[in-house]
């Protein structure tokens, strides 16, 4: 629904930018309330590569839960709030594939009958990048300079892999970390069963799906399961914590940031 503006054509080259880069952190409501370290880690990684990080504090939630459950009026309200908070220029970076897809792909649907808002949604949407996509495609990062150590398996979140087409970027970054051993699980891009409101409305199906996912995670023998989406990690983590499976969910941003210095030995 959106036509690509100049912004998109300038940044899709994947070349390391020469001018200083500014990015607004779209930290997401899940990270804000439940996993603040993920948002901090995201800011840390961005700053490590010379990005000036802005944090619009008027942001709340992109509206995805409302949109996905069919409550379009409420979703529009939240989306309008998001657009107000992020109107302007520079990149918008988020540690969440699904929130990025919401803004980039779903806002144009929400505002399809409001030309002025549609324009705004499109111009904000094309500035939005998921973290690993931003690092690899925009900044040209080849080594995240992380001291993280451990055997890691990657769950491809649905929105990242199918919504944004981001499959290789997180793998490239993980493989570049000397202390990380990346082990692939079977069907890494099969849905974990979260689906936002789906996990609330259809909890039994959702639980059966996450058990299947955990089976495949455990089969790799990895210590950590990582992903670019907090929803998946909350779902997988919730089942891991209840059943005591021997694997630790950790967001990709936290691995890229590396262990906090005081935890290093």
């Amino acid at each position: 629904m959106c036509e690509h503006g100049e912004f998109a054509s300038l940044i899709l080259g994947g070349m390391a930018p020469s001018a200083p880069v500014t990015a607004s952190l779209f930290f997401t409501c899940l990270a804000d309330a439940l996993y603040p370290n993920v948002a901090l880690a995201t800011a840390t990684v961005l700053e490590r590569f010379g990005v000036t990080v802005r944090v619009p504090l008027s942001q709340t939630c992109c509206g995805q839960p409302a949109y996905n459950s069919g409550h379009r009026k409420e979703a529009r309200k939240m989306a309008a709030g998001f657009l107000r908070a992020f109107d302007g220029d520079g990149y918008i970076v988020t540690p969440s594939g699904s929130c990025a897809v919401m803004v980039k792909e779903m806002y144009p649907v929400l505002f399809r009958n409001e030309p002025r808002m549609l324009d705004l949604a499109c111009s904000v949407g094309e500035r939005v990048f998921e973290l690993s996509q931003f690092l690899v495609d925009v900044l040209g990062v080849t080594d995240p300079l992380s001291a993280f150590k451990g055997k890691v398996t990657l769950h491809d979140s649905c929105h990242l892999v199918r919504g944004l087409g981001v499959r290789e970027q997180p793998r490239r970054l993980l493989r570049a970390i000397p202390g990380v051993e990346l082990v692939e699980m079977e069907d890494s891009d099969r849905c974990c069963g979260f689906g936002g409101v789906f996990s609330v409305k259809n909890p039994h199906i959702s639980c059966a799906m996450v058990e299947k996912k955990i089976e495949r995670i455990l089969a790799t023998g990895a210590q950590y399961v990582t992903s670019g989406d907090l929803g998946c990690l909350m779902n997988i983590g919730g089942a891991v914590s209840r059943s005591g499976y021997p694997v630790q969910p950790i967001h990709l941003a936290e691995i890229l940031a590396g262990p906090p210095p005081d935890e290093e030995t």
Partner: protein, 474 residues
Amino acid sequence: MEPKCHNFSRNVEQALANRNLQAAISRTTGRFLEHRNAAVRSFPGDFEAAREAASRLKLATLRDLDIHLSRFIEEAERRGATVHIARDAAEARDIATRIAKDEGIALAVKSKSMATEEIGLNEALEGAGIEVVESDLGEYIIQLAGEPPSHLIAPAVHKTREEVARLFSEKLGETYTEEIPELVAIARRRLREKFLSAGMGISGANFLVAETGSVAIVSNEANARMATTLPRVHMVVASIEKVIPLMSDLPPMLRLLTRSATGQPISSYVSVLTGVRRPGDAEGPSKLHILLVDNGRSAILRGKYREMLKCIRCGACLNICPVYQTIGGHAYGWVYPGPMGSVLSPLLLGLREASALPDASTLCGACADVCPVKIPLPDLLLELRADARAQGHRTPGEVLGMKGFAAIMGRAGILEALERIGGVVCRLLFKDGKIPWLPFILSGWTDRRDFPAPAVRPFRKLWKSKRGVLPWNR
């Protein structure tokens, strides 16, 4: 069949409790997918380009469906077919029953057809005293069992060989055997008798070719060929969106259909049937009735769900769907399961019956990726969810919850205050940071999962006050 979509959550419970079913579904969907993926890899040419072309062909045909359908009717009738139109399922049943009665039919053999399942044809004909026998092996099995199909192209996937063996011995009086080749041989023998004595063969259509008024049917077992060759009357039941303009459109559509369905480059048999038996023909029915069923399609055509009518019923979206893989076809409560069913059933039956189906998807997008005609299934599911809410179909507490959520998210200040209160309270209640139960509509989440307790200091607070002293940023 009587729709049971409104019982979705009960259907799901039953499906999840059925171990045989679980094993059968994961085996079937896994194999179908494996074969499909291999067929896509060995596709002659660019598979993505072929999908795009097929999608464009179907859309363009739908855009001028009146023209193509008029041409189909005209060409079919010119070649001796009688075309009947049914506006809805009830009218379709009436017309089909009248045709069978007028033709003096006592026994009809059917090859697999979703359109006949949709209109409930078997029950109608049986109600009129006409014996109807399904001849596709899977359909035959579930007809004996008195069950609906659970997969578009593998209707009896949920049945084990032991269950089939029991059915054949109990219902047919055959000697009990669990050997699959012997079971197939029993069906072959029993159904051959039916093919040879039936007065009417009933089939669906995979495609209706407007240019020539032809009906194209794919099958692997040859039952469609039998049913359309041996009986004296052939009745085709097809929904109106099956039309393609030209004979030359058929091969590219078939290449996608069979590969997406079973992974075969082509099915064992493709029949292209045009008109009735002509003078000098060696065999074939002398009467051909084509029953075109609208049943809500012209209304779908009008609006934002038009793309759903591109569907060619390959079943690929079922096989790849992690929800279908978990609950199987019966849970969806009607003839169309999986992602395509979650869109089509509410459109055909109404959201009052089927509003639970659009919600039964994680919107993972795998279905859209695999669809050979590129139906944007997740987008259509989202539209249906919005329509369902607008029409007042919702779970208890949902509206209040969402209004509250929107109100909190309306102001960053309110959100932050609530986050901090929530964080403190939860840390007092749940010292290890795990919430083992959630209240009200959220309770299902914590049946088998913990929920993380909110942080005492949300990120926005950290960023404002403590930035600079946090470990990473020393």
